[in-house]
């Protein structure tokens, strides 16, 4: 009975979708603001990756909101899972020697790769969120391979708080120097080099640290027994 009502509702939704999708032909350029960002992006911000300049410079305030939402989710998860204390203790077998050695060997390489991605966010595809996710995958590998090690709480909280603080301080410095929050006040430099695009690399490094330590902290909270 419930399945039939659900399929009926889905057919109505599908009909509505098809009617509106027929008016959006695939592949035609539509919004004019995109053309403005593509043509003036390199001159106004200095970053060669246009998506990076949209995320950090033109729409930087939305990125601040998104970092806040991620922070609230991590805090909520820590608060919900710590009060319980009812987890049964399971004996964890230590991993085999091959897995243990392989994980210890791969972990610094993954960290270096993730750092490369968020440092070069304004030159190549990538950025803070992708690099942070790769760093969190490196920590997940450590949890699966070498099960007796954990990241220290103090270092994780310090990295996360410093990342958020650097982002906010950069925005407030822009307010101090130019009159706008998150104004790009550092010199733009020449395109295609590492030290270009003003405050964009600094903000992306802060976001990379913050997202990486936050996702690793989420996995740490879920694995821990009590």
């Amino acid at each position: 009975m419930r399945g039939l009502i659900a399929i009926l509702l889905l057919i109505i939704v599908a009909l509505g979708f098809s009617q509106s999708l027929a008016e959006i032909p695939f592949g035609t350029p539509r919004a004019k603001i995109g053309r403005h960002y593509i043509e003036e992006g390199v001159r106004e911000t200095g970053a060669v990756n246009i998506v990076t300049s949209v995320v950090v410079n033109y729409r930087g305030f939305d990125t601040l909101g998104e970092v806040t939402v991620l922070f609230i989710a991590a805090i909520g998860l820590g608060a919900v899972l710590t009060v319980s204390g009812g987890g049964e203790t399971r004996k964890t077998h230590p991993a085999s020697l091959v897995l243990h050695t392989g994980c210890r060997f791969l972990f610094p390489l993954i960290l270096v790769f993730g750092s490369y991605i968020f440092i070069h966010g304004h030159l190549t595809p990538g950025g803070g969120f992708q690099g942070g996710a790769i760093i969190a995958s490196g920590f997940l590998l450590m949890y699966l391979g070498c099960r007796e090690r954990r990241i220290s709480r103090v270092a994780s909280n310090l990295a996360e708080s410093l990342g958020g603080l650097v982002f906010l301080v950069m925005g407030l410095l822009g307010l101090l120097f130019g009159g706008f929050f998150l104004l790009n006040f550092l010199p733009k430099g020449t395109a295609h080099t590492l030290f270009s695009a003003g405050i964009i690399p600094i903000i992306y490094i802060a976001i990379g640290f913050k997202v990486g330590s936050e996702l690793a902290g989420i996995i740490d909270n879920l694995i821990e027994e009590s």
């Binding site: 991605i117 990538g126 969120f129 992708q130 996710a133 995958s137 997940l140 996702l215 989420i218 996995i219």
Partner: protein, 79 residues
């Protein structure tokens, strides 16, 4: 080219239906990770490399990992 894209979209839809039908929850999670991975390939074919990288790192690896950790703390089979 259009045949490759059609094949990938068909595989993605089959994976989503499989995630709905499987009773073993770990198999359903792996089918959902397959959907995320094929969506990452389609993002790349739509000329969006940043989004493809984010979806592959976050959707296919971290989401499956936190699901499996949560399933290991609750029941494995759907009732």
């Amino acid at each position: 080219m259009i045949f490759i894209v059609s094949f990938l979209v068909l595989l993605m839809l089959v994976g989503a239906v499989a995630a709905s039908v499987f009773r073993d929850l770990i198999s359903a999670v792996i089918a959902a990770a397959l959907v995320s991975l094929l969506a990452a390939i389609l993002f790349y074919l739509l000329h969006a490399p940043d989004v493809a990288m984010a979806e592959a790192a976050i959707g296919a690896a971290l989401t499956a990992a936190i699901f499996i950790i949560a399933i290991s703390r609750t029941k494995r089979y759907e009732e």
